[in-house]
């Protein structure tokens, strides 16, 4: 029987010729990661195992990106634990403030994740790397600690849902609108325990940055992983970056899918997810007047250069509404520098935005933009759960960079003109 892309990659990382959904396997891990929240707990667990070295110090990244630059003493202590472990174990890929970026933007950019990989990360948005044609999934700290010890992990091979995307996306439509649309259709557990495999002719219009966004939010439908088969766009992205050789896997034509869903992306409008679930999706055209206090453009979902370019295109020569705080957070130093070179940062600051150093910060209510009681934020981030960005009685609306930028000018949620 044929294999889905996820089955194929997992099987190549076991001693079996073929694996299929439902099977339990031990899979070899090509790369692993943790951040300043999940890392310290993983280190504590690793120490309990009772060995004094990690499986491969060049296949682990430790990325202090959540509460950095440190917001308070306890978060500084967390980073210190991470830093000291990195030095003690001689971990090659530890990123200090000034070099660090948001993990899921940073690692692909650094070429540390390559097509065909099995990647395990102690962060739920580890599924982002599926955009490179890798199997990549989030776990907790204990699972990760055990990967550090053994270099492998137990997995139940997931069933796959295949999304066939066709048509050409409309103006301003990016990966965020596509994935919000899909989550709106299937719900927050519509792909629970499953793989979301994206394919179809529309992929040729969907940039690498948008593909990262799509796979990034697979977890918001409960998926184990999101994945996009390797193509010319992947090849172009990886060719100047990859730090390891890679092997391309493609799904078999006779693979078995739990479901096949066809989506005409030309009909997808600019989308907004209402509080308090990413599946509460509405077209921006049908929502009425929703006034906002804060707009955040950034995160592992939408803090890449394409996002900043779109936002700058809309904000150029305009001013942020007097009642709105616009916070722009380039996801990595490379994105930041590129945005500087292209004049995007100047556009943001001239418009009256605050531009921050890379950090996950406000996305998870950490720092750099916490909401007060009753406030509403519109964000290009990934979650709008109760209290996600601050006070339990604050609200988060999710959208792509075009709606975020346009809304920051209008003071209410709106589509860009023109």
């Amino acid at each position: 029987m044929g294999m889905t892309l996820t089955e194929k990659i997992i099987s190549a990382h076991t001693d079996k010729d073929e694996v299929h959904s439902g099977e339990f396997v031990i899979a070899r891990v090509d790369f692993s990661l943790a951040n300043d929240i999940t890392g310290p707990l993983a280190i504590k667990e690793f120490e309990k195992i009772g060995i004094n070295k990690v499986f491969d110090k060049e296949r682990i990244a430790l990325i202090p990106d959540h509460f950095t630059p440190n917001k308070d003493i306890p978060s500084a202590e967390q980073c210190k634990i991470l830093r000291e472990f990195a030095r003690k174990m001689d971990i090659k890929y530890y990123y200090e403030v000034g070099r660090v970026g948001i993990e899921h933007a940073l690692l692909p950019e650094e070429g540390l994740i390559v097509p065909g990989d099995v990647v395990i990360g102690a962060d739920s948005h580890t599924c982002t790397y599926g955009a490179l044609g890798a199997f990549s999934t989030g776990v907790g700290s204990t699972d990760l600690a055990n990967v550090w010890a053994t270099g492998d992990i137990w997995l139940r091979v997931p069933e796959s849902i295949k999304f066939i995307l066709y048509g050409k996306p409309g103006k301003w439509i990016t990966g965020k609108d596509i994935i919000l649309n899909i989550i709106g259709r299937i719900g927050v557990e519509g792909a629970n325990y499953m793989a979301m495999e994206f394919s179809g002719e529309a992929l040729k219009y969907i940039s690498m940055d948008s593909r990262f966004t799509i796979c990034n939010m697979a977890i918001e439908a409960g998926a184990k992983n999101g994945i996009i088969p390797f193509d010319d766009i992947t090849a172009e992205y990886i060719k100047s970056r990859n730090k390891r050789p890679y092997k391309v896997y493609l799904p078999d034509e006779d693979a078995n899918y739990k479901e096949i869903i066809e989506i005409d992306v030309s009909s997808i409008p600019l989308e907004v997810a209402f509080p308090h679930l990413p599946s509460n999706v509405k077209s921006v055209e049908e929502i009425g007047d929703i006034y906002i206090d804060q707009v955040v453009i950034g995160s592992c979902t939408n803090g890449r250069i394409e996002d900043l370019r779109i936002a700058a295109q809309i904000l150029k020569g305009k001013k942020v509404h007097p009642y709105v705080r616009l916070i722009v957070i380039p996801a990595t130093q490379e994105v930041y520098l590129q945005a500087l070179k292209e004049g995007l940062i100047e556009i943001f600051i001239s418009a009256g935005a605050s531009v921050s150093t890379p950090t996950c910060g406000p996305c998870l209510g950490g720092h750099m933009g916490i909401l007060a009681k009753g406030e509403k934020a519109l964000a290009t981030t990934n979650r709008n759960f109760i209290g996600r960005m601050g006070h339990p009685e604050s609200e988060v609306y999710l959208c792509g960079p075009a709606v975020a930028a346009a809304s920051s000018i209008e003071g209410k949620i709106t589509a860009p003109y023109g």
Partner: protein, 164 residues
């Protein structure tokens, strides 16, 4: 184990279980103080040791923070029964030793405050207040191996030949 039921709805996410601003410690009891505070203020001070969370679909969706099952344990909860669990939360719970049981009928028929008795070995759940017995879904054998080893870390120690 025996405890009274605390009922929650569908899609209880990890930000509700333990808001990210408290993720600057690995101390279970400290995390437990803030468990569920977004939707059930003072939850941890109202819980008696051994109480049981009874929830709907997709419990634990969202982030991979293992602090979520730790906070639940730290608040004094002994087990979570739900119609379904989000996958990372489910793995994390097994790994940190929080019993997580899948049983739709218990959830639908149980009321807040009902006294529940759970036998983990057999998966039997008895609602004393309603005098009704249920059976939770059994775990796959591979998962039972991990649970019987005393968690994933002990399972790994065994695989690596380190004395447990």
């Amino acid at each position: 184990m025996i405890g009274k039921a605390w009922k929650f709805g569908d899609n209880i996410d990890t930000d509700v279980i333990i808001p990210a601003r408290y993720l600057v410690t690995q101390d279970m009891l400290e995390l437990g103080k803030h468990c569920m505070e977004g939707i059930a203020p003072d939850f941890s001070s109202r819980v008696s040791k051994g109480d049981i969370i009874v929830a709907g679909r997709n419990f634990g969706c969202g982030s991979s923070r293992e602090h979520a099952p730790l906070a639940i344990l730290g608040a004094g909860i002994s087990a979570v029964i739900a119609i379904s669990f989000a996958r990372i939360f489910f793995r994390n719970s097994i790994n940190v030793g929080l019993p997580v049981l899948i049983c739709k009928d218990v959830v639908e028929e149980c009321e807040e405050g009902d006294l529940l008795e759970i036998d983990l070995e057999s998966g039997r759940i008895y609602n004393k207040s309603k005098d009704k017995e249920y059976k939770s879904e059994s775990y796959p054998p591979q998962l039972m191996d991990i649970i019987k080893s005393g968690g994933l870390t002990n399972y790994t120690r065994r695989r690596l030949g380190i004395n447990v």
